[in-house]
C-alpha cells in the first residue's frame, strides 16, 4: 500500500512539473503582458493574435470568465483591483450595467469611422463595437416538411394550435439571447401588447429553458430534441452548413425573420479603467477593428463584422442574410425597463 502511495505522489509531482513547464500560450516576449478578459464563446485565430504579439512586443493572455453575465459581474466586482486590461464581450443588453459601474475608461479608436453610425448610437466613448449578431427564431427544415408545416412569416402565427409545443426559447432572466428576443417582442408588438402574445404562447405549449446550449443542443429537433423552432442566432444556419459533418451544400436550418422580429446584439470591447497597460490596451482595440480580425470574427464566433470593409463568408450571404429591419430599442430604454420587462414576462410565462 505504501508503494501505491509513493508512486501516486511521484506521479502527481511529475505531472505538476510538466504542467508548470508546459507552455500553451505565446512566448514571453519580454515586453509585458496584456490580459484580455472575455466570455467563453470568444475565439480568434491564433495567427492573428501571434501577429499582434509580435508587432507590439507583448504577450496576450486571454481570460475567459464564463458567460457574458458572469464575466461582467466579475469585472464589476473586481473594479478596485482588475484582473485584466481589456474587456471584450459586453453587449448592448448589458451595456447600461457596465457603464453605470464605471469599469471602462474612454477611448475612441482611429478606425471608428469604419463602423456604421447606427451601431454606435447611444454608447458614448467608453466602449467600441466589434461585432454584431441577430437573435431570432430558427427552424428545422426537414422537421417542418415532415410535419407539413410552412415556416411562419410572422410571430403572431406561432400562437396557432398547429404550433403547439413546437417552439423553444431561452429564459430572458438568465440568458442573453432570451433577453434579446424579449426586447425584440417589446418593439415588435409594442410595450402594452407584447405580454399578450407571450401569454398566448404559454398557453400554446411554449418551452422555456435556461440557456442557449440547452435550447439548441438538447431541445432543437435538428439536434435530437422535440422543438423544430428554436431561439438562436441568424448566423446559426450558415454555421450548420460551414461546419457540417459530412460536408453539405445547403443548410439544414433556416431563419424566421419578420420585420422587427430579430434583435440586433452588438458586442463591445472596452479598456478597463485603471489599467497599467493603457497604450497596449488601446492598440488591442484598434487590432480588433482591423480588417484582418474583422474578417476572422465570423468564422470564429458566428457574428457579423462591424467594419464595413470586411468581407463575410459566402455561407453567411447564402443562408444567414438579414435584410429586414431588426427590432430597435435604445440602450437607455433597455437599462430603464429591463428588470420590469423580465419580471412581467416571468409572471406571465413562468408562474
Amino acid at each position: 500500500m505504501w508503494k501505491h502511495v509513493f508512486l501516486t505522489a511521484v506521479a502527481s509531482l511529475a505531472l505538476v512539473a510538466t504542467a508548470a513547464c508546459g507552455d500553451d500560450g505565446g512566448n514571453d516576449s519580454g515586453g509585458g503582458t496584456l490580459t484580455v478578459i472575455t466570455h467563453d464563446s470568444f475565439n480568434i485565430s491564433r495567427e492573428l493574435l501571434e501577429q499582434f504579439e509580435k508587432d507590439n512586443n507583448v504577450t496576450v493572455k486571454l481570460l475567459p470568465k464564463g458567460d457574458a453575465g458572469a464575466m461582467l459581474t466579475s469585472v464589476i466586482l473586481t473594479k478596485g483591483n482588475p484582473e485584466g486590461d481589456v474587456v471584450f464581450g459586453v453587449d448592448n443588453t448589458f451595456l447600461s450595467r457596465a457603464l453605470e459601474a464605471g469599469i471602462f475608461e474612454s477611448y475612441t479608436s482611429a478606425l471608428i469611422d469604419k463602423v456604421p453610425g447606427d451601431l454606435r448610437e447611444g454608447i458614448g466613448d467608453k466602449v467600441t463595437p466589434v461585432d454584431y449578431g441577430y437573435v431570432n427564431l430558427n427552424y428545422d427544415i426537414a422537421a417542418l416538411k415532415k410535419a407539413n408545416l410552412e415556416p411562419p412569416k410572422t410571430l403572431d402565427e406561432l400562437t396557432d394550435a398547429k404550433w403547439k409545443g413546437k417552439v423553444v426559447v431561452e429564459n430572458p432572466a438568465s440568458s442573453s439571447p432570451g433577453l434579446a428576443f424579449l426586447i425584440a417582442t417589446v418593439d415588435y408588438f409594442g410595450a402594452d401588447k407584447y405580454l399578450d402574445w407571450w401569454k398566448k404562447m404559454r398557453a400554446n405549449g411554449l418551452v422555456v429553458v435556461d440557456g442557449w446550449e440547452t435550447a439548441y443542443n438538447t431541445n432543437f429537433s435538428w439536434k435530437g430534441g422535440q422543438q423544430p423552432i428554436v431561439l438562436s442566432y441568424a448566423t446559426s444556419p450558415a454555421f450548420e452548413q460551414m461546419y457540417a459533418e459530412p460536408a453539405r451544400e445547403d443548410s439544414p436550418t433556416g431563419n424566421i425573420l419578420p420585420p422587427k422580429g430579430a434583435f440586433r446584439q452588438i458586442e463591445y470591447v472596452g479598456v478597463i479603467h485603471g489599467t497599467s497597460h493603457q497604450k497596449l490596451a488601446r492598440k488591442f482595440v484598434d487590432f480588433l477593428l482591423s480588417k484582418a480580425v474583422q474578417e476572422d470574427v465570423p468564422g470564429q464566433m458566428a457574428v457579423y463584422p462591424v467594419n464595413k470593409d470586411a468581407a463575410v463568408p459566402p455561407a453567411f450571404e447564402k443562408f444567414s442574410k438579414v435584410d429586414v429591419a431588426p427590432a430597435k430599442v435604445a440602450p437607455a430604454d433597455i437599462a430603464k425597463n429591463r428588470e420590469k420587462w423580465i419580471d412581467e414576462w416571468t409572471k406571465a410565462v413562468l408562474r
Partner: protein, 576 residues
Amino acid sequence: MDEGRAPVAALTPGSPLPQGRARGRPRFAGAGPALLLLAAPGVFLALFLLYPLQGILRESFFREGTSLDDLHPLVDGTFYLERAWFTLWQAAASTALTLALALPCAWALARHDFPGKSLLVAVATVPFVLPTIVVAVAFTALLGPQGALNSFLQWAFNLDEPPVDLLNSIWIILMAHVFYNFAVAARIIAAYWAKLDPRMDDAAAVLGAGRVERFLRVTLPLLRPAVLAAASLVFLFCFTSFGVVLILGGSSYGTIETEIYRETVFLFRLPVAGVLALLQAAFTFLVMLVYARLAGTSPAGTFRGTVARRTSHGERWAAVAVLGAMLVLTLLPLGALVERSFHGAGGYTLEFYRALGENTRKQALFITPLTAVRNSLTFAGLTVLVAVPLGTVAAYGARRAGRAGPWVEAVLLLPLGVSAVTLGLGFLVTLDRPPLDLRGTWLLLVVAHTLVGYPFVARSVGAQLRGIDPRLREAAAVMGAGPLRVFVEVDLPLIWRGMAAGAVLAFAVSMGEFGATLLIARPEWATIPIAVFRYLGQPGALQYGQALAMSTILMAVTGAGFFLIDRLRYRELGTF
C-alpha cells in the same frame, strides 16, 4: 474461550467488556489537543472559505447605493418561497428515490462477493463525477425524441411519434439525481451493512419473523445510522443541485442555487443573491449537523468469526438481478453518450476523436484533449495530496472535540453547502492582494477543489477513527511508543482504508468540479469539464461531436482512476 483468536483481535470494537460498561470515550479528549489539531483545517477554512465569503457578502450588502429596498423582490409575491419549497421537495423526492434504489444495491454488495465487484462499483460511481452538461447530453441521447429509447420503441411498435416525452419534466430531474447519487449512497450503506452481525437476522428468523418482517423490524432499524447518513448526504447534493436543474429542467424549475446564479450574474441583484446564499448555507449547515450526529454511530454487534453459511440460489439470483439493474441504470445513459460520440451523420466514425487533436479553426483558445486530461489529473492529484492530510487532521480534531464533535464536523463540511458562484466571486474579490494574491494562480484552483474534496476524507477517516479501540493505543504507549509512533504504527494501519476511501471521492469531486473553476481558471489549465463546456457552446456538428468525445474520455479516465484507487482497499467498499 474462542479458540485461535489473536490477542489484538480480541480488543476489536464490540467485544463485550466483562463488567458490561459502555465503551468509554478516548482518554485524551479535551480542549487542548482538539484545538491544536483543528488549527490546520480551521485556518484553511478561515482563509479560503470565510474570508472570501465575507468579502462577497460585503460587496453584496454594502455597496454604494444599496438599501433594504433591494431586498424587496424577496418578499414581493411568493416566487422565492415557491423556489425554496421546490428546492426542498425535489431534494426530498430525489433522496427517497435514490435510497429506494441504493438499498437493494447495498444489500447485494454487502452480502455477496464475486469477481469484478470493484470494477462494477467503480463504473457505478462514474456518474458522480460527470459535469451536468455531459449528463444532460447523455440523457438526451437516451431519452430524447430522437434518442435510443424512442427510436427503439418506435421501431418495435411501429409508431409515428416518439412515445416518451420526458425532457423538461420533473421526472428527468429526479432521474438524473438518482443517476448521480445512488452509487455513493449504496457504498455508504453497504460498508455499514457488511459489518452487521448476520446472526441477528438468524435470531429474528428463529423467533418467527419472515423475510419482510425481519427486514423491517431488525435490519432496517440497525441500518438506520448509515441510511440516514447516506440520506443527508444525498439530500445535500440534490438540494444544492445546479446543473441538473438548470439544464434538464428548463425554466419552470429552479432551485435556490440556480436563483443565486441568476440573481448574481444575470440580474446583478447582489443583495438578493446574498440573502439566498446565506439561507442556503444556514440550511445546509443544519443538515450537516444532523448528518454528523447520525453518521457517528458504529454498528453495534459487529460481526467477527465465520460461520459456514451458504447463500441460496434464489438469493444469488436476486443479487445478480439487482446488480444487473444497477449496471444497466449506470451504463444506459453513459452508453448512449459513448455511442453518440462515435456516430456521425454518415454512420459510425472516429472523426470526432481525431478532430480533438486538430485545431480545425486555428483558434487561440484551443485545448488538446491530452492537455485537458493532463490538467484534470494534475489538479485531481494535487487535490488528493492536500485533502488527505488536511481531512485526516480535521477528523482527529473533530474526534477529540468530544461533545462538540458534531458541531465541529458540520463546520468542516460547510464548503459543500456554499454556492460555487458565490465562492468563486468571493475568491476574485478577496484573494487579489498580498499576502494572499492567489488570483490567477493554479494554487487557487487547488484550494477550490480541496475545499470541496477534503470533507470526504474527514468523514471517511472519522468513521474509521470511531472504530479504534483506545486500549490499542494505550498498549502501544505502555510499550514505549511516543505519540508519533503510536500514530504511525497503530492508527495509520487502521485508518488508511478510510483515507483511501476519502481520496477516491476527493479525486472524483475534483475531476468534476466546474462552477468555481470556470470563474478562476486560466485557459491553459482548462480541465476536461471546461473543455466540454467550450465545445458545447459553439455551433456546428463537429464541435458537438467533439464535446461528446471529450466526455467519453473524461468517463474513461475517472473510471480508471476510481478502479485503481479502489483496488487499494481490496474487499472493503469504503467507509464513509
